[in-house]
């Protein structure tokens, strides 16, 4: 069924009896050409682009719980491509271009809203860094605009620009950036992949790999053995756990990142805004709640919930930026598990086992990458060569020294 305005009106007039489930609930077949482990945004996007762009068939997505129950349902919904490094920026700009056409492509309302992102600057050195970053973005086909304090105040008149310690001197604006409804992205990809014959198998946890003579034969799951010509792991957060079944140790630590939402307020934030002197990012959802977050808690965790010191830290940053939020109440907070890689950059590559591929290490930048991650991973799975925007995301870069360290922090995962 195609979704359309006409369809909504027709169903409204006929008692909404025509809506069916958005995707099937098939039992696993004994074998597939492609098995994607992980029914999150990236896994579902991979299956979709494998079927649509690379004309592959016999594809299954295995999900241990329900689809979209992991990080694609836990992020702060920001979509942007304001990166500096050559290894990153073409990839994220490719992703943003896919976001721009995503809803038409999937025939699904992902509430993509290009409301712009402003990174605030608080020092002369930071202005220099943002000019450099903006130029790098423009060179890679993205858009960037340097705003002075007055231009920032026109959009955000309530900002505390005269803060004695961190005055707001201006900002770097990417007008094409914005937000998307995170759950709808997973559902949209699931529905579109399912329509192209992909089997989405939920409640099916991978418990091991069957490997013979250095070649993958299939996966052991909680619903029995499933044979596969190619297996793509796509389980950021649990990458180390799953790849350990293949005897691999990864350049990854799992960390918990918290996110927060306030009570519903009248429209106050026109776009996404980030604090440049700490780590804080905020936007307002269509329901009115301010959706915001900060840094990871900083210690290894698989708990999907964080601790109070980081809650306090994030609130302090919020009030430093927007003193007028002092009376807004916090509604909810939650945590998600991040694959923090050793250089802050993802990994999309083959492994030393024939037919086993790895996609992970997304740190806390995975949501914006969802379409491109799926696209380039599908490219890698189908053609055995990296997509031209993702050649830097190699697994062996820590051996060869070709790290892509956007933040320049070195091999300390909790600092990226």
């Amino acid at each position: 069924m195609r979704y359309s305005g006409f369809r909504v009106i027709k169903e409204a007039l006929t008692g909404h009896r025509g809506w069916g489930p958005a995707w099937r609930d098939p039992d696993p077949k004994p074998d597939y050409d492609y098995v994607i482990i992980g029914g999150g945004g990236h896994g579902l996007a991979t299956a979709y682009y494998l079927a649509k762009e690379y004309k592959q068939a016999r594809i299954a997505v295995l999900e241990k719980g329900w689809i979209g129950g992991g990080n694609v349902g836990r992020n702060t919904t920001i979509v942007r491509s304001n990166y500096l490094l050559d290894g990153n920026e073409p990839f994220y700009e490719f992703s943003l271009k896919l976001w721009e056409g995503l809803e038409q492509d999937l025939n699904y309302n992902a509430m993509m809203s290009q409301r712009g992102i402003i990174n605030l600057m608080h020092s002369d050195a930071q202005r220099d860094a943002y000019i450099r970053r903006g130029n790098a973005m423009i060179l890679n086909g993205a858009d960037a605009q340097l705003l002075d304090q007055k231009q920032v105040l026109e959009k955000y008149p309530f900002l505390n620009v005269k803060n004695a310690r961190f005055p707001v001197m201006g900002g770097l604006l990417q007008a094409r950036a914005g937000t998307a409804r995170h759950d709808a992205v997973a559902w949209g990809y699931a529905r579109a992949a399912d329509q192209r014959g992909v089997d989405i198998i939920q409640n099916c946890e991978v418990t091991g790999f069957r490997i013979e003579g250095g070649r993958i034969l299939g996966v052991e799951t909680s619903r029995g053995y499933i044979g596969a010509k190619k297996v793509g792991a796509c389980v950021a957060g649990s990458s180390s756990k799953v790849m350990a079944y293949a005897g691999m140790r990864l350049p990854i630590e799992s960390h918990v990142l918290q996110a927060f939402v306030s009570e519903g307020l009248k429209p106050v934030l026109p776009g996404v805004i980030t604090f440049g002197a700490g780590h804080f990012y905020c936007s307002q959802s269509d329901k009115g709640g301010l959706v915001f977050g900060g840094n990871i808690d900083g210690y290894n965790s698989y708990a999907q919930r964080g601790n109070l010191p980081m809650v306090e830290d994030v609130m302090e940053e919020a009030i430093a930026m927007f003193p007028m939020l002092g009376r807004a109440r916090l509604l909810r907070s939650w945590g998600g598990i991040m694959d923090m890689s050793m250089d802050g950059t993802p990994i999309i590559d083959k492994t030393h086992i024939d037919g086993l591929y790895f996609n992970g290490g997304w740190c806390y930048g995975g949501f914006k990458a969802t379409p491109a991650s799926g696209f380039v991973y599908a490219h890698l799975l189908a053609t055995d060569t990296p997509h031209h925007t993702a050649t830097a995301f190699r697994l062996d870069r820590f051996h060869t020294g070709h790290m892509v360290d956007e933040k320049g922090m070195g091999n300390q995962p909790n600092l990226h």
């Binding site: 990864l250 210690y299 290894n300 965790s301 708990a303 909790n414």
Partner: protein, 95 residues
């Protein structure tokens, strides 16, 4: 989280800085034939278990001691706290 410091008693985790897996105590021998390979592994790959994890915490806002904390990464429960010095010496380092 509360870390029960062996010398100072229970302290809030926000007084500490986290470094990572306690395997970082075992710095490879730079004169070994495969020193390069060992240092790449030492610097970059981790077990990253879901469950008990021995890890290094530095008491920066306190007595500046390094601790080895055994903590469950699924529940955040801390079951053992030792001075990193004692752990390293027990493993034959810094005699």
């Amino acid at each position: 989280m509360i870390i029960n410091h062996p010398l100072l008693g229970p302290r809030d985790s926000s007084e500490f800085v986290y470094l990572g897996d306690a395997c970082l105590i075992n710095r490879p021998d730079w004169q070994a034939d495969d020193a390069l390979e060992q240092f790449i592994e030492y610097g970059h790959t981790r077990d990253n278990p879901a469950g008990l994890h021995r890890e290094l915490w530095y008491h920066e806002q306190g007595d500046r001691s390094w601790l080895v904390v055994t903590r469950n990464t699924v529940t955040h429960e801390i079951t053992q706290v030792e001075l990193a010095r004692d752990v390293a010496r027990a493993e034959g380092r810094s005699k």
